[in-house]
């Protein structure tokens, strides 16, 4: 997939990232050619960053290393607080409420729309980054640009992309030479894997990332949607019914227990050799390469098949960085984010994580890491195929609440696990969504 704006990005980067090799670092000439930053940290600035902990070790290590370099170059002290994924949103919300706490938060999905009034205008930084790095993907803009007040309320960072993770030898044993390209083929593969006693597993529990990713994929794949563009509820539809019936059939081929799975469960089951296929970030393969070297060569990744809607559309966890208005050092905070997402830092960060995060800036799709191993390539396009939660309505407090309450996941589990009729499950979800959208 080539984009003219990606080419432009390469032209702007003096030497191009290809010259950087797999280390991802830029030659000094390129760094020197970068335009001077428009953000000047306040004297004596000291900032706090609240971010999620990575599922892959190098994420935190490289991020901390770059932060140290930033402090050495600018004198700005940066304190990093790390929390588990689901804990970042409530902690950031409390900071918004009490008006003190971290200056910068790297949060999830609709977070900036829960308290947009509390956030600093990020338009200058977002526009600067967009111009110098090939522009942002549409989903990034949807999550971070508030059309009501016509400003960026957060700086898009990227997604922890999901792809189908599978054991190739078992796929061959199940009678498939290549990974299926459509939903019926995917179902047949799941059934074949169960027949050879190597079932697949997709979470139907309250797993923030894993359960939402594949249920939304199936919903959107059949053309179902949570809301219409005017935020009216659209979940009760024949398309959703088809999606629920398909997921129910898929569930019959899964390993028992998926309805109780939390986020780490599929990683553990896969690495224990009990699950042949799941949907996940690159973390399973990443861990296997280091800790399960015998298994790693047999692990492959594929973009999930497109459904009848013929569109690849995945619910990936999107992360953005935003700065609270109460920050005493807004310029230092902006400069920190610019520095961390500039190619000299972002390239080695993504490379070190073996593509665990796919950045929201289109220019980074050209990083050598994406083509260094065909197993990593599917994750390159994660931003391209990401749809925002609550599609096709608008990001905001209501879809955020629907997501945190697992309305879509529970609708699928109601049919697949609890054997509720598709009509009843859709009505239940519709009723809940109406309440949420009415009261938020």
């Amino acid at each position: 997939m080539q984009h003219p704006d990606r080419r432009r990005f390469l032209e702007l980067s003096a030497a191009g990232l290809g010259a950087a090799g797999l280390s991802g670092t830029l030659p000094s000439a390129a760094a020197a050619a970068a335009p001077a930053s428009p953000f000047k940290p306040e004297p004596g600035a000291s900032i706090q960053l609240l971010r999620w902990t990575g599922f892959v070790k190098n994420d935190d290590v490289i991020w901390a290393e770059h932060t140290k370099n930033f402090t050495a170059q600018t004198g700005v002290k940066v304190e990093i607080q790390e929390l588990n994924w689901p804990d970042v949103t409530p902690k950031a919300a409390l900071a918004a409420q009490v008006g003190s706490g971290p200056d910068i938060v790297m949060g999830w999905n609709d977070d900036p729309f829960i308290y947009p009034d509390k956030l600093l205008d990020m338009s200058d930084l977002a526009e600067y980054m967009g111009k110098t790095h090939g522009g942002f993907y549409d989903t990034a803009r949807a999550y971070c640009y508030d059309p009501d007040v016509k400003r960026w309320v957060a700086l898009p960072v990227g997604v922890t992309g999901n792809a189908v993770v599978y054991r190739q030898s078992w796929m061959h044993q199940a009678g498939f030479e290549t990974f299926p390209k459509d939903f019926p083929g995917f179902l047949k593969l799941a059934q074949g894997l169960k027949k050879i006693d190597h079932p697949c597993g997709f979470s139907l529990g309250h797993a923030v990332g894993d359960a939402n990713s594949w249920t939304h994929l199936v919903l959107w794949g059949f053309g179902g949607r949570q809301t219409n563009p005017d935020n009216s509820i659209a979940i009760n539809s024949p398309e959703t019914a088809n999606a629920l019936e398909y997921a129910s059939e898929l569930y019959e081929s899964m390993i028992p227990g998926v309805s109780g799975w939390l986020d780490p469960s599929n990683n553990q089951a896969f690495l224990a050799g009990q699950c042949s296929m799941t949907m996940n970030g690159i973390s399973i393969w990443y861990v296997a390469k280091d800790q399960f070297p015998a298994m790693a060569p047999d692990i492959y990744h594929a973009l999930p098949p497109a459904g009848p809607s013929k569109q690849h559309s995945i619910m990936n966890n999107f992360t953005s960085a935003y700065i609270f208005k109460y920050s005493k050092y807004p310029q230092a905070a902006k400069e920190y984010l610019r520095y961390m997402l500039d190619e000299a830092q972002a390239a080695p960060w993504v490379t070190g994580m073996r593509g665990y995060v796919t950045l929201a800036l289109k220019g980074y799709a050209e990083l050598p890491i994406w083509t260094s191993d065909p197993k990593i390539t599917p994750y390159r396009d994660s931003m391209e195929v990401t749809r925002f939660d609550g599609y096709s309505g608008r990001p905001g407090r209501a879809p955020a609440q629907a997501l945190t309450e697992f309305v879509i996941v529970d609708m699928f589990a109601d049919v697949a696990v609890n054997k509720m009729t598709t009509k009843d499950a859709m009505r239940k979800a519709e009723s809940r969504l109406m309440t949420i959208y009415k009261h938020t």
């Binding site: 409420q97 469960s265 553990q268």
Partner: protein, 296 residues
């Protein structure tokens, strides 16, 4: 008369001195209990969201949650969870106390070991239970499979009924020492003379338990049940760590739902209404407990 001595004489007044002495405790109670409670009640009657103080909406939030099947399910499971867990803890705690009240070798070590579930950090023990109940890696399933009792792993947390039962078992395990130690103290305060007299009268062990032990343990039972019910009804850590309210909201309780709505979703008013609503159950519970004591 100097000013100091005048002040001193006022302190000598039992009325003034009394108020002064209870003032620190009263300030603490007002600041740490009354203020947050009143603030919570006020919040539950507003449309406050995270970042917005909202407006007064009266009982609107209560009307919303009462019409919400997820809340009704959470209320139902909260009561179920409390009733079954308390019954289990009471029965097993009493049995354990009766055992530990006997003289045997290693009695002291046994009593110390019994306290472990109570003193271990809740989140750590919840994580250990999460592994024990895991659909793929459960040691319980592994043992039963290897003993040929079952042919495949049990799905403890995958269905509403089994997930609920599992959480009740974990809560019983954790709260058992509280009952056992309470009953043990109660048992040791019963005079041996009563049992000797009963033995002389030819009472059986069961009769001695029914006519002496159980009636004399009634006051401690009331206290244990009342306090433990409050802990159980407001339990959060065990459930959030093990199921996060799933599958399909089957294990939501007041606290997890209030946390999800107020903190994770930012609906402070609605979340506060959910958090405040168990007070109704607490009052009902306290009423029944107190009445049973009076009747006794």
């Amino acid at each position: 008369m100097t000013g100091g001595s005048r002040l001193g004489s006022r302190f000598d007044s039992p009325r003034v001195l009394g108020y002064l002495l209870i003032a620190p405790a009263a300030i603490l109670l007002l600041g740490l209990i009354a203020y947050p409670l009143i603030w919570g009640v006020w919040l539950s009657m507003t449309s406050a969201t995270l970042g917005d103080t909202g407006a007064f909406v009266g009982l609107h939030n209560y009307a919303v949650i009462l019409a919400d099947p997820v809340f009704r399910g959470a209320a139902m499971f909260s009561v179920l969870y409390t009733v079954f867990a308390e019954a289990g803890k009471l029965a097993l705690g009493l049995a354990l106390a009766l055992l530990l009240n006997q003289s045997f070798r290693g009695q002291r070590s046994a009593r110390a070991l019994m306290l472990l579930p109570w003193v271990a950090p809740t989140v750590l023990s919840a994580l250990a239970w999460l592994w024990l109940l895991d659909p793929q890696f459960s040691a319980v399933s592994w043992l039963l499979v290897h003993l040929h009792v079952i042919s495949r792993n049990l799905d403890f947390l995958g269905t509403p009924a089994t997930a609920r039962a599992s959480l009740i078992v974990v809560n019983i395990w954790r709260g058992l020492p509280y009952f056992a130690i309470g009953y043990l103290a109660g048992l040791q305060s019963i005079s041996k003379d009563l049992y000797e007299a009963a033995a002389i009268d030819g009472a059986t062990g069961w009769q001695a338990f029914r006519r002496i032990t159980w009636p004399l343990l009634a006051p401690i039972t009331t206290i244990l049940v009342a306090f433990s019910s409050i802990f159980t009804l407001t339990d959060f850590q065990l459930i959030w760590t093990i199921t996060r309210g799933g599958p399909t909201d089957a294990t939501q309780v007041f606290t997890t739902l209030a946390y999800q709505r107020a903190i994770v979703s930012g609906q402070l008013g609605e979340g506060a209404a959910i958090a405040i609503s168990p007070i109704v159950f607490m009052i009902v519970l306290a009423f029944f407990v107190m009445r049973s004591v009076r009747e006794r």
